[in-house]
């Protein structure tokens, strides 16, 4: 089983949210909006590349747009495998976090 890094996980989630409009700039700005920190293009490239290689993403060259000098953009779409992976991560996380409220309250109340 492949382990996703936190950034990869977030990238997948963002692409899922963006639906049809996931390309490099939207991915970056959305990510930064959620995470409240700068994600460099380089880091993004590496994650996207790895995710594409592992078939969690597929790419699609979009139609040339009129506003951007007529150049085509590269869109990223999440694949079935990608969604399954996210699901898997999500269940795992839920299990891990399940008794978090109870346990954390216990420690915090002691103070």
């Amino acid at each position: 089983m492949k382990i996703l890094s936190k950034l990869e996980e977030n990238v997948l989630l963002v692409i899922l949210k963006l639906e049809d409009n996931a390309y490099i700039v939207t991915i970056k700005t959305t990510l930064e909006k959620y995470l409240k920190k700068n994600i460099s293009f380089g880091a993004l490239y590496l994650s996207l590349n790895r995710l594409t290689r592992d078939k969690y993403l597929r790419t699609e060259i979009g139609d040339p747009t009129s506003q951007k000098g007529g150049r085509a953009k590269k869109y990223y779409r999440i694949t079935r495998e990608g969604v399954l992976k996210l699901k898997e991560v999500h269940t795992l996380q839920r299990k891990m976090w399940g008794d978090f409220d109870k346990l954390s309250d216990k420690i915090l109340e002691k103070r």
């Binding site: 390309y23 490099i24 700039v25 970056k28 700005t29 700068n38 460099s40 293009f41 380089g42 880091a43 490239y45 590496l46 590349n49 951007k68 150049r71 953009k73 590269k74």
Partner: protein, 855 residues
């Protein structure tokens, strides 16, 4: 709204970060994001943001890519080192060849760099010029050029006034000064120069002020080494150096030692004013023919040389012989190689040595190619497996290329070490002072890197293309035959080229030696053994001669103005029926009665000088060339003299070679007893007890002339000195030819061992069927002999052309003989056979049972 652009440099860096396939999307992405940022936060903020993006992206992406690159690379490296370890002989031969090849080409590079950078260390090298005169009809002594590097004193003040293009002008003049150091007298050559000298040239000062150092008369600057000789390590400024006369010099500065690649070489630099004071001649005459100085000047950066030269036509003068003599300037950087103005360098040797360097490099590269293609048989499996597992051809080629670079790099390390070790010996061989460190400049480093890269590329290219083209299916099925027709042909072609180059170099070496031997053994027309010469330096001549002759081993003593090796004096002769406009130059020699006997000069006609007949300044002897050039029918009794007729010709001496054999014999007139000019002593000694005789002469000298050290030389040494360049060249050539053929043989040796390995089975079967050892050897060597024959076929015409060209520079030369060509072929053949036969002999000795059993 104005559209802001992201910074150019940043864009470049950013694009370079990403692999080609992704680049476009990311650059467009960052531009779009940039525009958003500009709208949101303004330009400055966006720019900052942009740079942050770029700087954060680069290391991330590069590292990840590099990581995988390095993983693969380390695998290649591992394989390469395993190969080196496993195939020790191959690797050794390869490395040795490459190392020697690189080392010798580095040496040649050092030499060429040294020569080409003559006088280039001055800050404004490109703007410095030297003035010379074209004096038609006035040949420089002992040459065929009528260009004279000499100027009159009036030139400087005139040009300074009238030629604004000439920014700074400096006169210089070498003059001998006898300095006194303690009780010792040192006769030294001092360069006297105008104050501008230190502004025009870049000779940095350790002590002293370059602006004022040359102002006062009797100011003297010393080079560092000279300063140490006089005053040790302390600052010598203000110290006094006395001379043998009444004057004394004050040290006003210390120069860094003069770089060896400067055409101006001096240990003492005096102020030009000194000369004005020393000789209260009228220096600024109106006479434009009062020559004797050297003049250097700087021209402004935008001066057109042609236009400037035309301006100089204003100063044309009428020379002694009625022709127009003209002034010209030549760039400083041309001085060293310009033979017409007595440059010391010879551009031909630069070409020749560069060619040799290239030859040796090529031979070394071909070795590598040959050996690695031959060796590829053992690597086909590796290639096959790599391909099956998914290696692209490009990756394989890169791997093989990398191996050749690895070899070259290892060889580079070894060769640099060996260059450092060999350099002193090389220096004494060629008579230069090269050093890897003092001349280590950017260009040289680039040169070394370039050569290494070139070697790696050339030697890696063919194996990379060839080996990576194997088809995995055929390899792994075992049907693969490595020695395909094409590759064998290619290998053979390389061997032919290697040997052709080697043979060319052997022929050249033989011819060089023959010519030099011819020169040294050629009858020069005078006696050259057991004759010792030294300068008179104002000694009491009569006393010296008397005291010397007391010793029975000293046979004759003679005084003369020059020596047969160096006449060094020429004048216009005068004779009856001379056309006043025709002013040829004759060499002129003044001798005493013993001169002809001591040098064994033979007479053609007439008689030698004779004391009994009272020859005293009124008798002349001409050489054959002089008689020929004067068109005398019967020379004896003809009136003759220098400048004006002062006597008659009493004899004609047979032509003897008083110049190097590069030049034909020129006219010479010998006069008698002009004792003012007797500056040379020749002493004929017996061949017995030479050292005690020399000791006697030394003691006599020290008694009569105690203030000068006794310095002498034998006449045959002086003759050898005339051919120093050729000898150095021959010695250098000799070694490089050896190296070339050695590397070629290394390759042959490797190839032979490979062939025997391949033919183990064939040899085994043949032996079983009854073949004898000689039969097998002849079978194996047949191919090599054919290759050698081919190499000769190509090499001979080329060698003939080249050597013919070189021989043309001698007036007296040998004919190119077939023998030297045949000799070269035989040498190449024997060495080649020697290197392959050991391998073949081993092959024939092995028991066929062993070689056939392994299946």
């Amino acid at each position: 709204m104005k559209k802001y652009k992201p910074p150019r440099l940043g864009q470049k860096l950013f694009t370079l970060t990403f692999p080609t396939s992704e680049r476009r999307y990311f650059t467009e992405g960052i531009e779009e994001a940039f525009e958003l940022k500009v709208k949101e936060k303004g330009c400055a903020c966006a720019l900052l943001w942009y740079w942050k993006e770029v700087l954060f992206s680069i290391p991330l992406v590069l590292f990840t890519n590099l990581f995988w690159g390095i993983t693969m690379f380390s695998n290649y490296l591992k394989i390469a080192f395993r190969l080196i370890k496993r195939k020790k002989l191959f690797s050794f031969v390869n490395l040795l060849g490459l190392t020697i090849g690189l080392a010798s080409s580095f040496l040649i590079l050092l030499y060429v760099d040294f020569e080409l950078n003559y006088d280039k260390f001055h800050k404004n090298t490109d703007n410095i010029y030297r003035v010379y005169m074209h004096q038609p009809g006035n040949l420089v002594r002992g040459s065929s050029t009528d260009l004279w590097v000499t100027t009159p004193p009036i030139l400087k003040p005139t040009w300074e006034k009238e030629l604004p293009e000439a920014e700074k002008i400096a006169n210089i003049n070498f003059y001998d000064v006898v300095f006194k150091k303690d009780e010792l007298l040192l006769d030294e050559s001092v360069l006297f120069a105008d104050p501008e000298f230190l502004e025009i040239f870049t000779f940095p000062l350790i002590y002293g002020d370059p602006k004022t150092a040359l102002n006062e008369p009797f100011s003297l600057l010393l080079t560092e080494q000279t300063a140490v000789k006089y005053f040790g390590k302390e600052n010598p400024i203000g110290k006094i150096i006395p001379t043998s006369g009444e004057h004394q010099y004050k040290v006003t500065g210390v120069l860094q030692n003069i770089p060896k690649n400067s055409h101006l070489q001096f240990d003492y630099l005096g102020s030009f004013n000194t000369l004005y004071t020393l000789f209260d001649r009228d220096w600024e005459t109106t006479n434009w023919l009062n020559n004797g100085l050297d003049t250097y000047l700087t021209l402004g950066p935008n001066v057109d040389l042609k236009q400037f030269d035309e301006k100089l036509r204003k100063y044309d003068v009428e020379g002694f012989s009625g022709q127009t003599w003209t002034f010209h300037v030549q760039p400083l950087k041309d001085i060293h190689f310009n033979r017409a103005t007595r440059g010391q360098g010879d551009i031909r040797y630069i070409y020749i040595f560069s060619a040799i360097g290239l030859f040796i490099l090529l031979i070394a590269c071909f070795n590598f190619i040959n050996l690695s293609t031959a060796r590829s048989a053992t690597r086909v499996k590796e290639v096959g497996v790599r391909k099956v597992v998914g290696a692209y051809r490009r990756q394989l080629a890169r791997q093989l290329m990398g191996e050749s670079f690895l070899f070259t790099l290892i060889a580079l390390v070894f060769s640099l070490i060996s260059v450092i070790v060999i350099l002193p010996a090389f220096n004494s061989l060629i008579g230069k002072e090269l050093s890897l460190f003092t001349f280590l400049n950017l260009k040289l480093i680039l040169g070394i890197i370039g050569i290494t890269f070139f070697v790696g590329l050339i030697s890696g290219s063919y194996p990379a293309l060839f080996i990576s083209s194997f088809q995995p299916v055929r390899i792994l099925k075992g049907h693969f035959k490595i020695s395909s027709r094409g590759s064998r042909l290619f290998r053979n072609a390389l061997v032919v080229v290697q040997f052709a180059l080697s043979i060319i170099m052997i022929v050249s070496t033989i011819t060089l030696y023959n010519q030099l031997h011819y020169i040294r053994s050629k009858k020069l027309g005078y006696e050259k053994n057991h004759i010792l010469t030294f300068y008179t330096r104002g000694i009491n001549r009569l006393a010296l001669k008397r005291d010397l002759l007391e010793k029975p081993e000293i046979m004759k003593v003679s005084y003369s103005s020059g020596l047969p090796t160096r006449i060094g004096w020429s004048n216009t002769p005068a004779w009856k029926g001379k056309d006043p406009d025709d002013n040829p130059f004759f060499y002129r020699l003044s001798v005493d009665y013993d001169f002809f006997d001591i040098y064994g000069l033979e007479m053609m006609k007439g008689r030698k000088f004779s004391q009994e007949l009272g020859d005293r300044g009124n008798a002349y002897i001409l050489n054959e060339s002089a008689v020929k050039s004067l068109d005398f029918e019967d020379p004896i009794g003809q009136p003759f003299g220098f400048w004006k007729i002062t006597g008659t010709v009493v004899g004609v001496v047979k032509d003897f070679h008083f110049e190097s054999l590069h030049k034909p014999i020129t006219p010479l007139g010998i006069g008698i007893l002009d004792s003012r000019n007797f500056s040379n002593v020749s002493v004929k000694i017996s061949s017995q007890n030479i050292s005690s005789t020399i000791n006697h002469i030394k003691k006599t000298w020290e008694r009569l002339n105690p203030r000068y050290p006794f310095e002498f030389s034998f006449i045959d040494q002086r003759i050898d000195e005339m051919y120093r360049t050729e000898q150095k060249m021959a010695a250098g050539f000799n070694y490089f030819a050896l190296i070339a053929i050695f590397i070629a043989c290394l390759g042959l040796f490797g190839l032979a061992s490979f062939i025997t390995e391949q033919k183990t089975k064939e040899i085994g079967i043949r032996k079983i069927l009854g073949a004898t050892a000689p039969k097998i050897i002849s079978l194996l060597t047949k191919e090599f002999i054919l290759l050698l024959a081919l190499a000769n076929f190509f090499a001979w015409p080329l060698a003939w052309l080249g050597m013919n060209q070189w021989l043309k520079s001698f007036a007296y030369r040998i004919d190119l003989s077939v023998v030297s060509f045949l000799l070269a072929a035989v040498i190449a053949f024997f060495i080649a056979m020697l290197s392959v036969s050991s391998q073949f002999a081993r092959a024939t000795r092995t028991n066929p049972a062993d070689s056939l059993r392994y299946e």
